[in-house]
Structures are given as C-alpha cells and as structure tokens.
Symmetry: C2
Subunit: 216 residues, 2 copies
C-alpha cells in the first residue's frame, strides 16, 4: 500500500514541482487528480481532506496533510537526504531559496489560474489581456533572475553549481507554464540553458505535465 498520496493536477506548476522532487528522491506515491478547470478541488470530499482546496497537497494514510510546494520539497529533502535539493552551506541554501522564491512568490501566485479567472470575471479580461498579464509578471522577474544567474560564479550547469535542486525545479515548472502563453525566452539564455539541462534528467521528464495520467 502506497503511504503518500499527491493530490494534484497535471498542468499545475506547483504540482509539477512536487512531482519532480518526489521522482528525484525515488519516492513512490499515489497520484490523485483534481481537474481544476472543472472545480474538482472545491468538492466537499476534498475540502474535508484539505480545507484550502488547492493543489498540490501531500496526504499520508494517517491523514497528515502537507500543503505548499516549497514546504513539501524542503520536508522531502530533510527526510530523504539523497540526492540533496539544497546546498550544504547557509549562504548557498539562502541563494537557492531566493531564486526559488523569486519564481514561487513573485511570478506564480499572480499568474495562477484563480487570479486569471478573477480578472476575467471582475474586469472582463479577454484572452489577450490574460496573456499580456501573464507575460508581464514573468518578465518582471525573469529579467532580474537572468541577471543574477548570468553574473554569479555560483551558477553552473544548474542554478547553483552542477547539481539540480529546488531552484531548478521551480524554474522548469515556470518555463513549462510560460509555453502556454508564448513567453519569448530569447532574452533569457541562462534560464533557457538550465531548463534544457534539467529536461535531460529522467526525474524532470517523468514529472512533466504531458506524462501524467490526467494529461489532456
């Protein structure tokens, strides 16, 4: 019997992050799909498990609930140390968390499906407005992110040195999301290069949206 269930949605980039981390750590999990566009995450049965009604959520067979992709990834890293998703030194760890949070706090939440849906409902935003909004917030953070990555000797094959970690996971999930809104990646050669390096790794490919059971 599988001990952990991941409540998620193939296209959710925060779910994608957790899937990559689970694959990197070699952990088996039960895939529970909630179709966000059909509102399946707001059904009473799921709200009884996860009162926030969002994905991803990690749920153990004893009912223990863990929300928030960054918190989940740090938990996996603390309990299954190999391969590490964070460097060993405090300043390196801080740098990786900073890079991760530039994406996880400054891009993703503002471009999340529920926010885009609100812009349509409250302000009559159309498809072009939504795409412009999405690209604006990506570019606002990708510009400094590219500068920070390009100017630092700590950047290697991946965001921090030559081993993939939490920042790379956030980067890949964001770049995948960007493709749906045709974000021009030409101004971001370092980000694009890191994304390619990650996608050569089996864990990243296996966790990709297109390879999930609920993919459309």
């Amino acid at each position: 019997m599988t001990e952990i269930a991941l409540h998620n949605y193939f296209r959710s980039s925060t779910s994608y992050r957790v899937r990559i981390a689970l694959e990197m750590k070699g952990l088996d999990y039960k895939y529970v799909a909630h179709h966000l566009r059909h509102g399946e995450h707001r059904e009473p049965a799921y709200l009884a498990v996860n009162p926030q009604g969002l994905v991803p959520a990690l749920v153990w067979t004893d009912g223990t609930l863990l929300l928030q992709s960054l918190a989940i990834m740090e938990f996996l890293d603390e309990t299954v140390p190999e391969p590490p998703l964070l460097p060993a030194d405090p300043l390196g760890r801080a740098r990786v968390r900073m890079l991760s949070q530039m994406i996880a706090c400054d891009i993703h939440p503002v471009n999340n499906l529920r926010v885009l849906t609100s812009l349509r409902a409250l302000y009559g935003a159309g498809d072009d407005d939504i795409a412009n909004w999405f690209r604006h917030w990506v570019n606002e953070t990708f510009e400094p992110l590219e500068k920070i990555l390009a100017s630092s000797p700590q950047t290697g094959t991946f965001c921090h040195g030559d081993n993939p970690g939490i920042a790379d996971i956030c980067l890949v999930a964001q770049v995948a999301n960007n493709q749906r809104f045709h974000v021009d990646m030409r101004p971001y050669p370092v980000i694009a290069r890191i994304n390619v390096a990650c996608m050569e790794l089996p864990a990243f490919r296996k966790a990709a949206p297109a390879n999930q059971p609920d993919a459309e």
Copy 2:
C-alpha cells in the same frame, strides 16, 4: 560599522517580516528606506545593488545580496540559531513553512502594491474594487488557515507550540496589512489571538511599521 543593510519600506509587509526576524535574533542593521509609492526602489542606484528593484533586500558590506523574506529568515535562523524560528522536527518545520507560505505565496503576492497598481492602471479599478480584491484573497486563505490552526493540537500560544517563529512573523505582518483594508477579523479568532500574543513581544513591536524611521 554595521555589517548588514536592510533595504526596506516601513509599510511593506515582507520588510516587516525581516525586521521582526532581525530583532528576534538581536542583530543590528542599517535601515535603508525606499519609498515604494514614490518609485524609489526603481532608481538606477538601487537597481545596481538589487536588480529586482523590490524590498526587502539584505546587503552585506562586501556586496552580497539576499532577496526574498522567507529565504532571508531561514538564513538568519541557520546562522544565528537562538532563538529558533523553526521547530527541530521535520514535520513541525514543514508545518511552520506551510503556514508561512499560505500567507507568503497565496495572499501577499496577489495583494502586493504593484499588483493593486496594475489593477488600477489596466482595468480602472477604484478604491472600493481594490479593497474588495484585497479582502477576497485574504479571506480565501485565512478561512482554511483558521481551520488548520483551530483544529490542530500543535497550535499553542503561537502558530506552532509556545514559541514564536516564521509562521507567526508572516501572520503578524499580514494582519497589520489587513488593517489598512478593514478586513473583518471576527471570523478568525485563533489568528487574532496569535497576533495579540506576538504583539506583546518587544521584537514584534520594535519592528512594526509605525515605529520605523520612514513611517508617515
């Protein structure tokens, strides 16, 4: 000579988080104010230090730059262990990070000044629209946050047991922000009680927006 400078703004709730953590750890820092409403964070001199042009930013005298309030707080906690801002056990740490990120990822970014300014500029949102938007996203997360806190035996005087930590810091900064938009706190008695408990502590009071040199 003070070794670290905190680039911040009295009213920024992410700056407030870092100020509380610095006070709790007993660290001296140089306060560098950037008036966000006057666009001082987008001036070339600051962009040369911090390419993202946001606050808070921690900058050492050697030029080392650290962004993102959660990353900064975890760094402070790893380098100045007492008093701890996270519990010792992995599941406890995950719970505190989860509670923190519910606020830091699901509320704050969507209600940030730059997003509210965009709603005005792009969609002609007025003061009432802005206040409704702000309260909507607070309530969307405070409802499950209250449930999670109220139903868990791990909740104590503070979010996790009887010592304040990162989740309490995020909670206090959010509640302070809420006051500007008159969020009704009556549905959130546990959150309100924890806020009161925190505000009895000198570190939280000293770091409060009204007590900063750039307060208006």
